[in-house]
Amino acid sequence: SLSERLTNIFDRFSGRGKLSREDVEAGLREVRMALLEADVNFKVAKAFVESIRERAVGSEVLESLSPGQQIVKIVNEELVRLLGGEQRRLRYSPQPPTVVLLLGLQGCGKTTTAAKLALAVRRDGHRPMLVAADTYRPAAVQQLAKLGKDNQLPVTLPQGGMLPPELCAVGVAEAKRLNCDVVILDTAGRLQIDEKMLDELKEIRKRVDVGETLMVVDAMTGQEAVNVATAFDAAVSIDGVILTKLDGDARGGAALSMRQALGKPIIYCGVGEKPADLEPFAPDRMASRILG
């Protein structure tokens, strides 16, 4: 762990009395290593260390009896501050229905999360409608239909050769007809460099009044998290992030990278494959997870 590694480093220096700035540099290098091991983006990790440097070379560390622990404390506090900030749940629109657009790379958990989100809003006293707007992936529609059926959730299915933007509009109309006040749009996984698929997202937002555009991200995502997030954000302006598969042991540094790149909050965490496995994001728990 970071705290053990820092203790080892500073124990070597402790014989000489007070720590010097150079000694702290060695500690800061360990912090950077720990962040990179946790999949925090290279540039984000560098900037993070810069941001804590002044405090790290201050008296609170240099004159501490356990400087290693003090640095860990500073890192943890700064991580919590960066990850937390604007903490919120789903934003319901003043004029129903609230339309939630889920997007992200292939396989990150959008379809599963759509069902989880529907159950979460129902627990909040709302009436969700799911829209199976992935017309590409084999059996994607069946997947959402099954999740809907198993959990008594209405699902709008594609009709005829309907393309996703039109299908989303139909889903919203259907929701209004059935008095559902939250519409969750499940879309196909796509690469952030696929212009045609980015255009599809833009088209959906033209056809439908989207309240929340949420990017679904796999917690084990590595260095490209920043590029992926900024490209999607440039195309359709992301309102928030849902981090999935946090029931694994990925350190989740992508969370920090995303937060820095987008300036938008992580709203929910997927913590399993079942529809109930969705939790609100907890910055303090995420911070200690990233630190390892």
Partner: protein, 277 residues
């Protein structure tokens, strides 16, 4: 990205950033960069172009030293795909069935993900697209039973290859990992040998956790190869350096898209070109 510049400290720092940015991890990146620094000194390399060419040549030699062929000479050969959720197993199997059929082989698919919603439907679509027989049971059935039936089916019709799809599972879930050993035993009982190929499917966008995944899956069910998917994205899957050296399990196939033809044999030169693009 790295050319036409001086061989100064900034060059080596930028090289570190390229490698780490490709998810090699700092350890692997520093090993390559310090080896390059030494080489530049001892061979008196004077330009960034030459240094980079030298590094690429060294990396290519390391990658080329491994046998990356699929072994499919049993009767039938059983190929099992395993990996964490969403990495691309089912899609990869569909592409592989197509590829093997094009090579003139007869294939049977075992739709042994009996857990996830519409997983069987998804495998059936790929089976249809590749013109392959697929053996299915119902949702919730025993995965081992599907595998057993698929092998029996293959043996009955003299099919050469059985491709087994499994449910995604996080390597931290020990009860799910234990299930893999069961699949292996079923294959052993049905054919007299363990699966000829056990392929771990990891996706390029995954960071350092891919290394932990590889270790855990290898322990649960000895791997014979890796499939690296989603290389058509911007992630470079640099974790394969650590995985190959730590486990001695080679990357055999790469996924380059969502279409049936988007599966290639791993090409080290192409991989390195993309890494340093």
């Amino acid at each position: 990205v790295m050319l036409r510049r001086d061989l100064d400290d900034e060059f080596y720092d930028d090289l570190l950033e390229v490698l780490v940015g490709a998810d090699t991890g700092m350890g692997v990146a520093e090993t390559f960069v310090s080896a390059l620094r030494l080489r530049v000194k001892t061979e008196r390399i004077s330009t960034a172009e030459q240094a980079l060419a030298g590094l690429k040549a060294e990396m290519l030699e390391a990658l080329n030293s491994r046998d990356r062929r699929l072994s499919l000479d049993q009767s039938p050969s059983v190929v099992v795909v395993v990996g964490v959720n969403g990495s691309g197993k089912t899609t990869t199997l569909g592409k592989l069935a197509h590829r093997l059929k094009e090579e003139g082989r007869s294939v049977v698919i075992a739709a042994a993900d009996t857990f996830r919603a519409a997983a069987i439907d998804q495998m059936k679509v790929w089976a249809e697209r590749s013109g392959t027989l697929v053996v299915t049971h119902q949702l919730g059935a025993d995965a081992g039973a599907v595998v057993f039936d698929a092998i029996a089916s293959a043996q009955a019709r003299g099919a050469e290859v059985v491709l087994v799809d499994t449910a995604g599972r996080l390597h931290t879930k020990s009860n799910l990992m234990v299930e893999l050993a069961k699949v292996r035993r079923v294959v052993e009982r049905a054919t007299g040998a363990p699966p000829q190929e056990t392929l771990l499917v990891i996706e390029a966008p995954t960071g350092m956790n891919a290394i932990a995944q590889a270790h855990a899956f290898h322990e649960a069910m000895p791997l014979t190869g890796i499939v690296l998917t989603k290389l058509d994205g911007t992630s470079r899957g640099g974790t394969i350096w650590a995985i190959e050296s730590e486990l001695n399990v080679p990357v055999k196939l790469v996924g380059l898209g969502e279409g049936i033809d988007d599966l290639n044999v791993f090409d080290p030169a192409a991989y390195l070109d993309a890494l340093f693009a």
